[in-house]
């Protein structure tokens, strides 16, 4: 058992374990904090895939941004935090069937397919300069569109969440 393998399974167990808590916990605050650890585990998986920039972006945006948003809205929308923080489930049996079919099908396809794996390891270097170069050459248009989308989302979220003036 190599160290690489052990650390890989460590991050896998963190990710899948906290995802299980997110999905099955009935306490929404606990689910939100478990989602934090799931995002951490995914960031570790990115480091395993030699994607250092994506891993840091994941930590900054998901853990630093989206989790804070989610926690804020959990706190703002559960009126008595001790009583109503629990959240029920609906349609459990059909949902188990559907998601088991999707998950089983995906795993089966991933298992039987003979992937054309590139055997040579890419030269390990930091990916950030290359990604920055690609963002400003090959992917310039999507990059600009993404910035406009972020601006629109910012203004739209502020507009929607603002309290209406009492007339």
């Amino acid at each position: 058992m190599e160290l690489y393998t052990i650390i890989f399974y460590f991050f896998t167990v963190i990710t899948l374990g906290s995802t299980c808590i997110v999905v099955f916990s009935r306490n929404i605050v606990r689910a939100a904090f478990a989602l934090l650890f799931a995002f951490f585990g995914v960031a570790g998986i990115y480091i395993f895939l030699l994607a250092d920039f994506i891993a840091v972006t994941q930590l900054l945006i998901y853990v630093g941004g989206i989790m804070v948003l989610i926690l804020f809205s959990v706190m703002l929308t559960s009126h008595q935090i001790n009583v109503d923080a629990k959240t029920g489930v609906i349609q459990t049996l059909p949902a188990i069937l559907i998601s088991a079919c999707i998950g089983g099908g995906l795993v089966w396809v991933f298992w039987i397919t003979d992937w054309k794996v590139n055997s040579q390891l890419p030269i390990v270097e930091t990916t950030a300069p290359k990604i920055g170069e690609m963002l400003l050459t090959k992917y310039l248009l999507p990059f600009e569109v993404a910035s406009v989308i972020l601006l629109v989302a910012l203004i739209g979220a502020a507009m929607i969440a603002r309290r209406e003036k009492k007339v």
């Binding site: 058992m1 799931a38 990115y46 895939l49 948003l69 992937w115």
Partner: protein, 110 residues
Amino acid sequence: MQDLINFLQHPGLTHFLILSGLLFSFGIFAILTRRNAIMVLMGVELVLNAANINFVAFSRYVTTSLDGHVVAIFVIILAAAEAAIALAIILNIYQNFNTVNVDEINKLKD
């Protein structure tokens, strides 16, 4: 059995793909079963993360280019925008209906 042990001992492309497949189905399960709209949003985030792992894994193991990384960055950007808008909508719904349970919100207007 020996094959399976050998497979488990050498993490490769298939391991990451299976991990993302499991993450994806957990996310679908959360979207389908949860009544709280914020929990549905958490399920969506899990699904997006699963797709991102696939992009980065194929970028690492199949091609040597970094196109998958760039796509993953765009997915993260869109996830941030989507989370902000969705949570604003959820807060607004909470002010109007006093609940965030998706099966009780069935009116566009009072």
